[in-house]
């Protein structure tokens, strides 16, 4: 019943508690924590061997031992479990509601002289997702930031219950629109693991092509936005232009600027058009031509570097403890990329490097993204050069399946690793599904990174993390 990559086992309470202790010791890394009536599930990876597993514990009297008691990254997922499923994590250090908003919210106190609070959101000045930030500041200096999220909560896990494969796939592709390819891919891989579907090789390569285009578009847009938050408008305009070039090419080649609903279980739903290869090569050539000047300006403008260097430092220890994915982790020394570990096709056939630095400041996160852009450009060239021919989708015959099937997958989106888990019932409908956005293990780190910085640098720090609200709030 369990998938090969992430075998699931039902464990006793003692073993669940032992896993909590191993998370605390750093022997295991937490990749997901979710629940359904009667069972809580955790997805973990062994730090030494990279072996992945899912552990489930039966919740007698609707209770299970809290992981957050020993391992802080589990606290918010456990608060969400309380809100959404009604299970009680025993010993959970923070029992305030998280995704369910009801009544006044007790923000954590801060004590000291001359402190004042600044409430921001959920409606922000810019065009961004909704969330609330409560700053406690001493003059200009942030003493404490506390996030309150959940404003974008629309009940995705509940909407998944009993959904057809098509409907569930559409939902997965709308969990976080900026990562629609990555979410669709993660969900498709989980379904394929569950149903034992073999994906044609051309489809695997096209998926990687879409995923790298999505990574490029987001990295360009976000680097520009970071510069904009330092009031350096020219790079915002220039990087915005590069983003637009990518999404326009995506529309011409695949019929949708964000490439929504292009990846599906069994393969992909669109093939590269006759002139697609030429258009993509022209795009890569244009980007390679434009990029060096922009990087040169970023790196040699003292007033801009003054804002990004040394700002919003995330320590490698915290990045490791939270198993922070993506550029947030890699800018703070965490050498992890789901394309490599556990890895999936066709990346085993592609040459790419995973850039890692230790500095952990805004500048480091910008540089990791610049390096990842270079890698994605090279990856797209390799994909175009080696793209196999053949069919792009294996039809899925869910009706023919008998019994309950489960699958899980880990996919590298632009933000970091996305975990997808799904159980398909005998009728070919989704019995339960859970998709974990990388932001779950990045949002709490933003609170740590901003401490001691000035309030005016918060937009920079926030944008350099660019966590998802919708992906987190579900």
């Amino acid at each position: 019943m369990a998938s090969l990559n992430w075998p699931r086992s039902i464990v006793r309470r003692e073993d669940w508690e032992r896993a909590a202790a191993r998370l605390q010791e750093g022997e295991l890394a937490l990749f997901g924590l979710w629940a359904e009536p009667r069972y809580a599930h955790m997805a973990v990876m062994e730090r030494e061997t990279n072996a992945c597993s899912v552990f489930s514990v039966e919740c007698e009297d609707n209770r299970f031992p809290s992981l957050g008691r020993l391992h802080p990254p589990a606290i918010r997922p456990e608060r969400a479990i309380r809100d959404l499923v009604g299970l009680e994590p025993e010993g959970l250090p923070d029992a305030r509601p998280w995704l369910r908003h009801s009544g006044a919210y007790a923000f954590l106190p801060a004590q000291g002289e001359s402190l004042h609070q600044i409430p921001v959101g959920p409606v922000h000045a810019g065009i961004i997702e909704p969330g609330h930030f409560r700053f406690t500041a001493n003059g200009e200096t942030v003493v404490r930031l506390e996030e309150r999220l959940g404003y974008a909560h629309k009940g995705v896990d509940s909407l998944m219950l009993g959904a057809s494969i098509e409907r569930a796939s559409a939902l997965a592709g709308r969990i976080s629109g900026d990562s629609t390819v990555a979410f669709s891919l993660a969900f498709a891989q989980a379904l394929e693991a569950a149903l034992g579907i073999e994906v044609p090789s051309r489809a695997l390569w096209l998926r990687a092509l879409l995923a790298e285009l999505e990574r490029l578009a987001n990295h360009f847009g976000d680097i520009g936005a970071i510069c904009n938050d330092a009031a350096f408008v020219i790079l915002h305009a220039q990087f915005g232009l590069l983003r637009e070039r990518v999404v326009r090419t995506a529309e011409v080649c695949f019929g949708h600027r964000l490439m929504m609903d292009r990846v599906a279980a069994g393969g992909v739903l669109c093939d590269l058009p006759a002139d697609g290869d030429e258009r993509l090569r022209a795009l890569i050539a244009q980007l390679r031509k434009d990029l060096p000047d922009l990087i040169e300006v970023y790196d040699n403008t003292a007033s801009l570097k003054d804002r990004t260097v040394g700002t919003g430092i995330l320590s490698p220890a915290l990045a490791r403890q939270f198993a922070a994915g993506g550029f947030v982790g890699r800018a703070s020394g965490r050498n992890f990329d789901a394309r490599r570990t556990p890895g999936y096709a066709p990346y085993d056939r592609l040459k790419f490097e995973v850039p890692v630095v230790q500095a952990g400041d805004v500048n480091a996160r910008v540089w990791i993204r610049i390096r990842e852009i270079e890698q994605s450009l090279a990856l797209i060239e390799q994909i175009l050069a080696q793209l196999p021919s053949g069919p792009i989708r294996t039809p899925i015959a869910t009706k023919a399946q008998t019994g309950v099937r489960e699958g899980a997958a880990l996919v590298e989106g632009f933000r970091g690793d996305i975990l997808a888990w799904v159980r398909v019932g005998p009728e070919g409908r989704v019995e339960r599904a859970h998709l974990r956005d990388p932001s779950w293990f990045q949002w709490p780190l933003l609170e740590a990174a901003i401490e001691g910085n000035i309030v005016a640098d918060f937009p920079l720090c926030n944008k350099s993390f660019n966590c998802s609200y919708s992906g987190h709030d579900l």
């Binding site: 908003h101 959920p122 065009i127 997702e129 974008a152 709308r174 969990i175 040699n300 919708s470």
Partner: protein, 121 residues
């Protein structure tokens, strides 16, 4: 930096012309909306966008409207930071339970400012 500025200078303005209104009915509708909005709102239209639970896809595309190729502001359409400055409230997303109050408050501010604009005390 000098190189980039020089390049920008040489390549000229990247902003593309407005799409042509080749559809007669569409052009007529645009003219009527234009007339009505001109009378009620003046030459510019200020928009306050509120994300009430969208997937962030709409936000990315609304951002794109302001990039150098589209430059929405040249048509007098402007996204503003406060509902107090806005003529229009643009809502994205399904309106989640948790965003209901914030959205209603934004809407009420918007309405009050609109009424005062049209019926000055």
């Amino acid at each position: 930096m000098r190189r980039l500025l020089f390049k920008s200078f040489v390549q000229g303005i990247l902003t593309e012309p407005a799409p042509a209104q080749d559809d007669g009915a569409l052009a007529e509708l645009a003219a009527r909306v234009n007339q009505a909005s001109h009378k009620r709102l003046g030459r510019a239209l200020s928009i306050r966008e509120v994300d009430a639970g969208s997937c962030n896809g709409c936000e990315l595309e609304i951002h794109a409207l302001s990039n150098v190729l589209y430059d929405l502001e040249r048509f007098g359409l402007r996204f503003v930071a406060s509902p107090r400055h806005a003529d229009v409230l643009l809502v994205t997303g399904p309106v989640t339970v948790n965003m209901r109050e914030a959205l209603e408050r934004t809407y009420r501010v918007d309405r009050v400012e609109m009424d005062q604009h049209q019926n000055p005390p």
